[in-house]
Structure formats: C-alpha cells, structure tokens
Amino acid sequence: MAKRVLIVDDAIFMRNMIKDIFSGSGFEVVGEAANGLEAVEKYKELKPDLTTMDIVMPFKSGIEATREIIKADPRAVVVMCSALGQESLVMEAIEAGASDFIVKPFKSEDVLTVVKKVLGGV
C-alpha cells in the first residue's frame, strides 16, 4: 500500500515541488498545510505515514508543530525541510522529535532516499 504523505510548507511552489517528487514515486500525498497550525490539525485528521515539515512558517513554526504532533502521536514520522544556515533550527526540531531532515535546495532522489530510509524499519 502506498505510504500516505502530508506536506507542510508555507510556499506553494515548495509544496508543489515536493508533491511532484512524491507523486511520481509510489507515495500518496493525502494533504497539504501552509502553516504550523494547519499542520497539527491536518495531522490529527489524516494520520499520515510521513509528514514533511518546513521550519520557518507563519503562525506556528515547523518546530512547534512537530513538537505538538509528536506529543499527540509519539510514533509520527516528521522529516524537516530545512535550508543551509538553519542548522540550529534543525537541531531544535530533532529535539522536538523530528525523525530526519532534508536540506534545500534538494534533488528528488535525495528526498526519496531520506524518506525511504526513515520509513524503512523499527
């Protein structure tokens, strides 16, 4: 069964790009969120297998959203979409419970490698 993905990013172009990466590779994109608040709501509603999470977003940051998602579901798999220069934010997100991260600008194969690994065990 295709793994279900929730994409969180405040930039539409980023969401579209990530969506294209997943759609062509046997994942099912079940939802999108444009900020941290929406992300937490959509996560609770959709219970996806994987959430990709931008860090800097309006209303609620990706780190805070990750923290809340992990609190609600400790087994949630959240992969941060970060940019170079956001290292300290990524570490904060990891402390909040993020499973892994990808660094923008990314190539589709890099995204898929990280995601498959992170879903691949335990």
Partner: protein, 681 residues
C-alpha cells in the same frame, strides 16, 4: 490564550536585524557575481540565501503579529522567487529595489522594538509587485513608479498580513495517544552493556554536524548516553572536525537494534559498534532514556544583552582593583601576619585573573559583525561616484574583543569609503591604465601572536607622497626642509594629520581631512597601530594592528605634584632615579644616558600644564614613541597596577594626550596618558 509578544520583541529585533544585514550582504555579492558574468551555479546559492533571509523575516514578523513587515518581506520574497526560476533575470534595478526594501524592513523592525507599528511603504510594495510581474512576463523593466495598476493576486499565497485564524488549536484537547498496539514487538532487553559507537558521516552531507546530532539524539532514545566526541555543544556550534561522531552509551538494547535505528538515518558512512564492558547492574533505563544522556546534555546557547557583559567586565575590573587594595593594606601589617595574607591575596588574584580571562573570552566576537557591512557601504559609495568596485573579505571569522570591534566599525567603513573615493579610479581611467574596469578592495584579517592585523588594500591610483608633503607645507605643519627629509612611509602618515586633505573637491563621502586622522586616533586609543603603504598607480594598503582585548591593561602609576597619572606599560621601556639639575643638557634641554643612547627628557608637569614642583630628586620614565625613546620627568614612581581602562567621553576625549581613565581602589580616578599625542600637542 494570548501570547505575550513583548517578551520576544528584543530577540525578534536582533534576529530579524541579522537576517536583513545578511540580506544586504548577499544582494551586493549577487550584484558583483552578475556583473562578473557568474554562471547559474554561482548565482544560485546567493539567490537562495537572499530568498531565505526574506522568508525568515516574513515568518518571524508574522509570528510576532507584525503584518506590515511580513507583507513587505513577502513581496520582496516574491520578487526573489522569480530569480530562483531563472537567475539570468537578475538586473541592477532589481537589486537596487531589493536593497531599498531591505533598508525599509530594517527601519520597520527597529521601530517595532520601540513599540511602534509603521505601515509598509505602499509605493515600495507596488514597485516590488510590478517588477516581479514584469520579470515573469518577460517585459522590460521601467524606471520609476509603475503607471499601470498592480496585477491581481499573483501566486495566490495569502500574505501573512491576513488576520491569523481565530483561536488556535492549542485550546483543543490533545489527541489521545494512539490506541493501536506497537507495529512490532519490542525486542527483549538483554543485559546492559557499555558500548562505543563510531559513526562516519558521508562526506557529501552538507550539514554534517546536524547529522551527527541526529545520531546522538536517536541513540539517546535507546539507552543512556554517557558522552560523545565531539560533545553535543560542539555539534550545536556546527563543529564536526573529523567527519565522524563517537558515542559512548549504556544500553540493554541488542546491537542489531541500534544498527537498525542508525540505518534509518541518511548520509551515514561506516558504523562501528564495540562492546566496552558488560555491566552487572542494569542502568535505570527508563529514566535515563527520558533524561536523554544528562552527561552529554549541552549547555544551551543563550543570547546575552551586551550591557550585561559590559557589567561583568566592570565588576571583574573592580575585583582586580579591590584585590590590589587589599594587597596594599597588607603591606602595612607586621611581618608575622603578612605571609598568610599574601598567600590568600595571591590566590584571590589568580582566581580573579581566571574569571577575567573567561569574561573576556565571552566578549570575543567575530570580525564578521563589522566586515559584513563593508561590501554594501562600498557599493553605495561606488554607485554614487560612478565607480565599479568589488570587495573581498578574508578572515572575518577572526575574533576580537567586542569593545574594540565597536570602536572599529566606523573607522573601517571610513577607510573603505576613502579607498573607493580616492583610491579606485573611474572605470574609463582604469581601462586606460590597463586595469579591469572594476576596482578591487580586499579586506583581510589574521592573527599575529597576541594581535589581530586587519589590512584593507585597493588596486587604485595610490597616494601621492609629493602632494602630501606639499599640503603639509602649505598648511604650515612642516617646513619645506622637514617635509623633504621625511621618508615616503612617513610622508604617507601625513594623510592622518587633522585637516590635511589633498582631495581636489570635498564630497559627502570623504575628503574633508577628518577621516584618516580620526581613524588613527581611534585605532591608537584601543592600543593599536595604523600603517600606510602605497605605490602610485598600484594601490594603497592600510594596516591596522590591534590588540585582542582592551579593557584591562597594566599601567605604571606616576606622581606629578599631588596628581597621579598612568602610563601604559606597553609603552614604558624603563625608569631611572635622577637628580634633575645634574642631567646633561643638549641645546638647553636635559638628556639622560640610557641603554647606550641619549634620551631627551621632558618635564611631565610642564607638558600637562601643571605648576612644576621644582623638586630635584626625581624619576625619569623612558617611554617608546614612534621616532624613538623619550624620557618623562616625574616626581615619583608609584608602582605598577592592572587597570580597567574606560574610554573618555566628551569633552575629555578631545583633550590631546589623554587616552582613557581608570578608577583606583580608593575610588580616585586616574587619567592614562597617550605619550605620543602628549608630545605632539
């Protein structure tokens, strides 16, 4: 549940300000790269970085409920986004507009810190929207404000200026933990072992320290982390020198399970797990797993208000003085009481010194905080004057005391502007001289033992020593003979004389002759030295040699009449007791035979305008000045002391010959002399 945004406003102003400074720096770098015909691969990282900074400012200000800032940043981001699609679209007009926007954002951010909420400049917003639209449509860019109405909603992303959704989900009861049973059974926990795990991070990983941090974090969920090398603090600071992380941990989990957990992390190379010891007693695993390796837990980084740091330095300085005072009081005690007291004071002194070193280390700040504004400053001046200039900065990671950096910011900017204004020629003149049209200014910093050397060199027209000599003679500073006797190196320093400018016309950039003079004074006030090298047609190099820290310096205290004054030990060569009237004289002035040479002796009281005491048994302090040694006759040598130097405010700062003030243990202020300037006065 309303958030108290006021609590975060200081942090917001500081962080958003950092982003905007970086935004300006990257824009200038982008402009240079575009002009140099940079390939897409070179432009791309800059454009991404610019986008990110705009994006961050947008996100931060939206979170702070500052919709006007967020909206303007959003429009800037939209424009940059066009370049992300096609770096070939970047044009100077776009960069101008984005720089203006960055400045406007910086002003708004600053205003928010004063609890003001200025609206975004509607015209600026419109120009950004219009430019983005024209670029996207492949239309030529127009100068001036657009005449057409702004387009309808563009990419559709609602700007964060929109009211935030009503009460956030935070009030909703948290979802219960998933009722579903774990997907797979937990492997049976075995005996507790102490393991050593060595994990290589793939060389291609762009952020190896973050990867390593993820490794430590993953492992800490599976046992008790005892330690890691590098330590977590190092990783948080982005340091992973060997490209590998070693973790020591105690766990009851089977090695296979750990391997599997690490297998889920991307970008890892070889993983080696070694059992160091089997432990008889199981560790308190559950508690340890939640406490996540308290031993390896880092001290978190904090931002500290600079006034607090300054307060520390002052307090430590007072401690040093108080220690000196106790030592002095102890000297009056009978002999049998002195050894234990001295021992205690020695120990106290050592502790305070150590504390002082630590406080000073905290104040060390990378030079980048000053140099990162230079490319922007150079660009602005160059555009105003019709020059082209590229600025390269090396060694900006070198650290200096914050106090020195603060003093240095304006002088460095000034020297840079001078270089653009007087150094770099107009493009057509450069081409005629066989140089590239764009001038090149290089700022390099390096450590040289206990000093930092900052050099600013340009490939411009150089300085004309003949004209400097001429100007000094015209102004009456030097006689024609004196001017002719100067070496070229000395003649170049004439540029530092107050009011001496050879610039043909005074611009608002430089040329008023207050520039280099002020620079030299500032550099010397923090204990540094300024040197100039220049070759006509080839360029100029200004060298600043700076101490690492400034606040505490050893001084020699001297008495003149009833006054006590300090001389920086670094300038003092030695001292001798003399009978003043018996000193040899040369052309009526006393001279002191010292160390095989004859040193001219000046009466300090006379130099300072005090009434001479007329004492005959006196001391002479031999001090170094730029052209050799001189003697200063004083009434008494009062000993050496570590002094916390505080800069002089107005109007005392303008008094030539005084460089700083320090406060003694008994509360008495003592002025520190600047011998060089004292003689020149």
């Amino acid at each position: 549940m309303a958030l108290d945004f006021q609590r975060y406003i200081g942090l917001f102003v500081s962080e958003a300000g950092d982003h905007l400074t970086a935004l300006g720096r990257d824009l200038v770098a982008l402009e240079q790269a575009v002009r140099a015909g940079g390939a897409e691969a070179q432009l791309r990282p800059l454009i991404d970085s610019i986008f990110r900074h705009a994006h961050s400012v947008k996100g931060m200000s939206a979170s702070m409920e500052l919709p006007a800032i967020a909206a303007l940043a959003h429009k800037a981001e939209d424009l940059v986004d066009v370049f992300r699609g096609d770096a070939g679209r970047v044009e100077p007009a776009c960069i101008d507009l984005l720089l203006t926007t960055g400045d406007a954002l910086a002003d708004m951010v600053q205003a928010s810190g004063r609890n003001e909420r200025p609206p975004a400049d509607a015209d600026l917003m419109k120009r950004l929207v219009d430019m983005a639209r024209r670029l996207k449509a492949g239309l030529p860019l127009v100068q001036g404000p657009p005449t057409e109405p702004p387009p309808g909603p563009g990419r559709g992303a609602a700007p964060p200026a929109a009211a935030p959704p009503a009460e956030p989900a935070a009030e909703a009861p948290p979802a219960p933990p998933p009722a579903a049973a774990p997907a797979e059974p937990e492997p049976a926990a075995g005996p507790v072992q102490r393991l050593r795990l060595e994990v290589e991070i793939a060389p291609a990983c762009p952020v190896p320290a973050v990867r390593a941090f993820l490794v430590v974090k993953k492992l800490s969920a599976l046992g008790a982390n005892l330690a890691s090398a590098p330590a977590v603090e190092e990783l948080k600071a982005g340091r992973l020198p060997d490209g590998r992380i070693t973790v020591w941990m105690e766990t009851a989990e089977p090695v296979e399970r750990l391997k599997r957990a690490l297998g889920q992390i991307s970008d890892l190379g070889r993983v080696e797990i070694e059992v160091e010891a089997a432990l008889a007693e199981p560790v308190a695993h559950a508690a340890a797993a939640h406490g996540a390796g308290s031993a390896a837990e880092p001290s978190r980084t904090v931002r500290v208000r600079t006034e607090i740091l300054d307060g520390f330095v002052d307090a430590v300085g007072e401690l040093l003085l108080a220690t000196a005072r106790i030592r002095e009081v102890g000297r009056a005690l009978p002999d049998q009481y002195r050894p234990p007291l001295d021992e205690g004071v020695d120990r106290l002194h050592a502790i305070v010194k150590d504390l002082h070193d630590k406080v000073m280390a905290v104040r060390m700040t990378p030079l980048a905080t000053v140099t990162e504004r230079l490319p922007r400053a150079a660009r602005d001046v160059a555009r105003k004057l019709g020059r082209q200039v590229e600025v390269e900065i090396q060694g900006s990671e070198i650290e200096l005391d914050r106090a020195i950096l603060e003093e240095l910011a304006d002088p460095l900017t000034h020297v840079l502007r001078n270089a653009v204004d007087h150094g770099i020629e107009a493009p057509h003149l450069r081409l005629l001289a066989g140089k590239p049209a764009a001038g090149r200014i290089t700022v390099t910093a390096r450590r040289d033992r206990d000093r930092v050397v900052v050099e600013l060199s340009d490939d411009g027209q150089g300085m004309d020593t003949a004209r400097l000599r001429e100007a000094a003679v015209t102004r009456g500073t030097l006689s024609a003979d004196q001017a002719a006797a100067l070496t070229d190196r000395e003649a170049l320093l004439l540029a530092c004389l107050p009011g001496l400018s050879t610039a043909e016309k005074v611009t608002d950039v430089s040329g008023r002759g207050v520039g280099l003079d002020a620079v030299k004074r500032t550099v010397e006030a923090v204990g540094g030295v300024l040197e100039i090298e220049s070759a006509p047609g080839v360029g100029t190099r200004i060298v600043l040699r700076l101490p690492l820290t400034v606040a505490v310096q050893p001084v020699l205290l001297v008495g003149v009449g009833t006054e006590v004054l300090g001389l920086p030990i670094s300038k003092v060569h030695g001292a001798a007791h003399v009978v003043y009237s018996t000193l040899d004289r040369s052309r009526g002035e006393p001279i002191l035979p010292y160390d095989g040479e004859l040193v001219p002796v000046y009466d300090l009281a006379t130099l300072l305008g005090f009434t001479a005491t007329g004492r005959d048994e006196r001391a002479v302090v031999v001090a170094e000045v730029s052209d050799g040694r001189i003697g200063l006759a004083v009434d008494a040598l009062l000993g050496q002391q570590e002094a916390v130097l505080k800069p002089l405010g107005t109007p005392l700062g303008a008094v030539s010959g005084l460089s700083a003030v320090t406060v003694m243990g008994n509360g008495r202020p003592v002025f520190i002399l600047d011998v060089q300037r004292l003689l020149a006065a």
